[in-house]
């Protein structure tokens, strides 16, 4: 099928295209130079904004943890239901939507690729079963590897090559896309109810420190030539005063940056940017963090923006979730996974009238606005931790309009204004910058060559929004912008029109991407693993891998490692 999108205002930052009136042609699912108009389905996009399909770099949409959250919270679902239609399956929201609903909702906002950032390898089959039930988008998942016993042991031995080979084996075995590190060392400590509190604390039972884990895996990531960097959730996340730990973490990676390329992605940065001694004195550390980031080029980040709503927090950071439970007394799920990782879930409501929550809200926006280069920090809520992904249009409004920010800020706790410098920031993002933080930048950081842009050869994933950049004044008309981004005029995936005017026209299942990392000696690992396997896990070696059976439709990406 051929599709021609005519006369839209195109925003394609990867190719430097900024609001140019042009046609986009798609043939056999890919962007092509041109096609014959008479053979093609034509969409008249005059007066509309055309962007590549959205690419989310960090959103918890599938797997054991997400599903435990769903089970935990029937009260989250009752008020937000999706009826079955002739085309779509039924489901529920709100903060942890069921799988089908997740796909439809992303697609309605013009998103076409989602990265699920947290997968315990032992339960990877579960993650992939759920991903296979999420329609409308392409997807991938990051295995949690920072506290995996094999990593700790090889780093302790100082054997990086062996560590790298094991990671390569793991990526293929669990069909993963990037190395996820969460509170390095803290998760292993949590096995006995402890934590680490600085990047130089020793991990109990293993002679390594968080610094060594972060730097070690960063080097491993380079040896393997993985498309994305290490994806890091810092130590002391969610703790007042943690901006210092975050800066130290950023600094410890400086030496590893050879060229101008980033070597690490610090995720949901907002949760790692707090000053103060405790929650009473907590205030924003965004300025210090942004200053550092503006003077260095070895990092990318995402916001982890907080939304004032009732949501469900879930991370692999067991000790963090435990502290949150202590703070709130809410329901609490803990789920430690043998040999690999931990996890926790606590429902949470961010309140406008709570100083801390209002400050958290400010910090996310401060970071996005104070960090000058939009190619460094991307839009996320760490769904559902800061709030559900369906709130992205609100964030876009805050980013493009000081008026929108002030309207919200005014209604927050009066003391919150003084705890950050948000009210003094005048920057207002352009639509081009919005395209960077929601697709171009994320796709580049992820090393997704065929996504996030509209150049020839790219996947035919396009979002069209009902916004006329020539006639609209973004800062004043932020409500129009918000509405436009919540209901895509068209969402096109692989050249197929999936959504029109915010309604699903067609259900389609995207592909699961994963890395097939080729090392020089691939065969030795499984043999060695086989002999050790029962010492580490309670399942058999043969039953551990995620077989093709678990992927409805897949797109393996071959990577040639330099070991």
């Amino acid at each position: 099928m051929e599709l021609l999108i005519k006369n839209g205002f195109v925003f394609d930052p990867i190719n430097g295209i900024n609001s140019e009136k042009m046609d986009i042609a798609i043939k056999n699912g890919k962007i092509v130079d041109s096609i014959q108009e008479k053979n093609a389905k034509v969409i008249d996009a005059s007066g509309l904004t055309v962007m590549p399909g959205g690419v989310d770099i960090h959103s918890h949409i599938a797997g054991g943890e997400v599903n435990a959250g769903r089970l935990l919270r029937p009260e989250d679902h009752v008020k937000d239901v999706e009826r079955k239609t002739a085309i779509t399956r039924s489901g529920v929201g709100y903060s942890i939507p069921s799988t089908f609903t997740t796909g439809y909702r992303y697609s309605r906002m013009g998103y076409t690729t989602i990265m699920n950032p947290s997968m315990s390898p032992l339960e990877a089959k579960h993650t992939h079963e759920e991903l296979s039930d999420i329609p409308m988008v392409d997807k991938a998942s990051y295995p949690l590897l920072g506290d995996w016993w094999f990593v700790l042991e090889y780093l302790q031995k100082g054997d990086l090559e062996e560590c790298a080979r094991h990671i390569a084996w793991m990526m293929e075995t669990v069909k993963g896309y990037a190395i996820k590190i969460v509170n390095p060392g803290g998760l292993e400590s949590w096995g006995f109810g402890r934590n680490v509190h600085s990047i130089d604390d020793r991990v109990p039972g293993f002679d390594v420190t968080p610094r060594e884990i972060i730097c070690g895996l960063c080097k491993v990531n380079k040896m393997l030539n993985l498309p994305h960097t290490i994806h890091l959730h810092t130590n002391n996340l969610g703790v007042p005063g943690n901006y210092a730990t975050t800066l130290e973490t950023m600094k410890c990676l400086e030496d590893l940056a050879g060229d101008d390329k980033p070597v690490a992605h610090i995720t949901h940065l907002q949760f790692s940017s707090y000053k103060g001694r405790d929650w009473r004195t907590m205030k924003s550390g965004a300025e210090e963090i942004a200053n550092y980031v503006n003077n260095h080029s070895h990092l990318t980040m995402d916001m982890g923006q907080v939304i004032f709503t009732d949501t469900t927090t879930m991370t692999a950071d067991g000790p963090f979730q435990f502290n949150l439970y202590n703070l709130t007394g809410h329901k609490w799920v803990n789920h430690d996974v043998e040999t690999e990782t931990s996890g926790g879930i606590v429902p949470f409501r961010y309140r406008r009238k709570n100083v801390v929550n209002a400050t958290q809200w400010s910090i996310g926006l401060e970071l996005a606005l104070l960090i000058k280069d939009p190619w460094k920090i991307f839009l996320t809520t760490d769904h559902p931790n800061g709030g559900p992904f369906t709130a992205y249009p609100k964030i876009i409004a805050w980013l493009i309009s000081k008026k929108a920010r002030m309207a919200t800020l005014k209604r927050t706790h009066p003391k919150a204004i003084k705890r950050s410098i948000l009210s003094s920031i005048d920057r207002e993002m352009s639509l081009y910058e919005i395209a960077v933080v929601t697709r171009g930048g994320t796709s580049k950081a992820l090393g997704l060559k065929h996504k996030g842009h509209l150049g020839v050869g790219a996947d035919g994933d396009v979002a069209i929004y009902d916004l006329n950049p020539e006639s609209i004044d973004l800062p004043t008309d932020y409500k129009v912008v918000r509405k436009a981004f919540s209901r895509a005029k068209y969402t096109i995936k692989g050249g197929q029109v999936l959504v029109k005017d915010g309604e699903v026209l067609q259900e389609m299942y995207g592909k699961t991407m994963w890395l097939n990392v080729e090392t020089d000696e691939p065969c030795r690992i499984p043999e060695e693993m086989k002999t050790k396997f029962r010492d580490y896990w309670t399942v058999e070696f043969d039953n551990y891998p995620v077989s093709d059976h678990y992927l409805r439709s897949q797109s393996p990406i071959t990577v040639k490692a330099s070991i």
Binding site: A62, G64, N67, R70, L71, L72, R73, P74, H77, V78, V81, E82, R83, K84, R89, S90, G91, V92, I96, P97, S98, T99, F100, L122, E123, K125, H126, E129, E130, D133, W149, G191, F192, G193, P204, G205, F322, Y325, H330, K331, W332, V333, N334, H335, D336, V337, E338, T339, I345, V346, D535, Y536, W537, T538, V539, E540, F541, D542, N543, H549
Partner: protein, 484 residues
Amino acid sequence: MTIVKSVTCPVCGCLCDDIELVVEDGKVEEVKNGCAICESKFIGYRGEHRVLKPKIRQNGKLVDTTLQEAVKKSAEILANANYPILYGWSSTSCEAQRVGVELAEEVGGVLDNTAVVCHGPSILGIQEVGIPSCTLGQVRHRADLVIYWGCDPWSAHPRHVERYTTFAEGRFEGSEWKGYLQKFKAAAGRKKIKRVMKQAPVKNPPSIEPVTPSEPPQKMKKDGRKLIVVDVRRTMTAEVADYFIQVEPNKDYELMEALRALVRDQELDVNSVAGISVECLEELVDIMIGCNFGIIFFGLGLTMSAGKFRNIDVAISLTRDLNMRTKFAIMPMRGHFNVTGSNTVFTWQTGYPFGVDFSLGYPRYNPGETTSVDVLLRRESDAALVIASDPVANFPKKAVQHLVKNPLIVIDPHMNATSLMADVVFPSAFVGIEVGGTAYRMDHVPLPLKKVVDPPEGVLSDKEILNRILEETRKIKLKQVEAA
């Protein structure tokens, strides 16, 4: 003769995946590593009750029919029903369960699994307060205190203790394989491990003198892994335990509350609780607080005794309290091999683990209202599909009466009490023996089920049967729409 290794046992929630089978002439001849129940499943599954042809009720009698006829009849029943129940699901694969959700949605029925008559209260308890838990390997590697409460793994989950808890070799507990790690727990040297292992052999359980409730549990002063059993009667597991606490029937809630109070350093003004002396309880609480990693496994003795979901609520709350002092986890001992899987699949597709009502076109969940037994007791359903379970044998009498009064479809490898009352019966292949798939262990670890032998000719898998019914039902409904 072929040897098939790493087979997952499709019997109980332990989901042992290290079974070795010797297969000859399309038959399992020998089972290695499995327990007795596992062995009898793999060897003895071709029982006398195996029917090979679908059946349909004609003039009051079940008679053989073709697959097409049975599918057509089932689809008619479901398409014409206003409020059908689709029940069972705990002993089939996740792949079949996924089709089941789609079918339930298509016909606007109630989708429910056997949790409603076993661990339903556990799920309600979790929805109330959450659950601090872990995978079983975490217990194997770390737990120095294991408590079985209201469950008897020795008979119901025979390999649980050996594979996952007290008798298993872990990294930090009961292990010698990495000497340097012993630093981590200076007090826990090799001696301790040997001592534990000496007690471990199954064939020679240490004889334990009955503990009189007034005496503090001396045995608990030993080092190493400790095993405690709390139950109303002296079970097999209690026999091998370091300490057995005999709780008076239906007093679990009181006992838990007393323990909670003690964990929070409150004083008790009574001499005994639930038949156990307060000194004993104090000792017990000290052990709980003093351990490095403790876990409570609970079973139907807790979920089905007086108090039900309040029992679970308080058990989880006790575990929450203990986490203020040390590391503690809790886990339900799920029975059917894939009851966890069906809760899991239902939840990711609909948001709810059981008792999902699609009659309004979207998933709705209100246990006590949308759960199958309640729908039956209110006599609201007008048809049912039962898969891989036997509600006629397990449901309250009144519920069964309504169930069998209406058109009833059964999909099951066996003929059971329910299929004898059915209008359409599909014999299906044995999941995990004749057909593969996926199941979730009681700790939510997914495991592949293997196909080791072929099913008898003409016998399809649950998934395939459901798919055909779904397809046929859609055709009928489409016609109905067109006609209207």
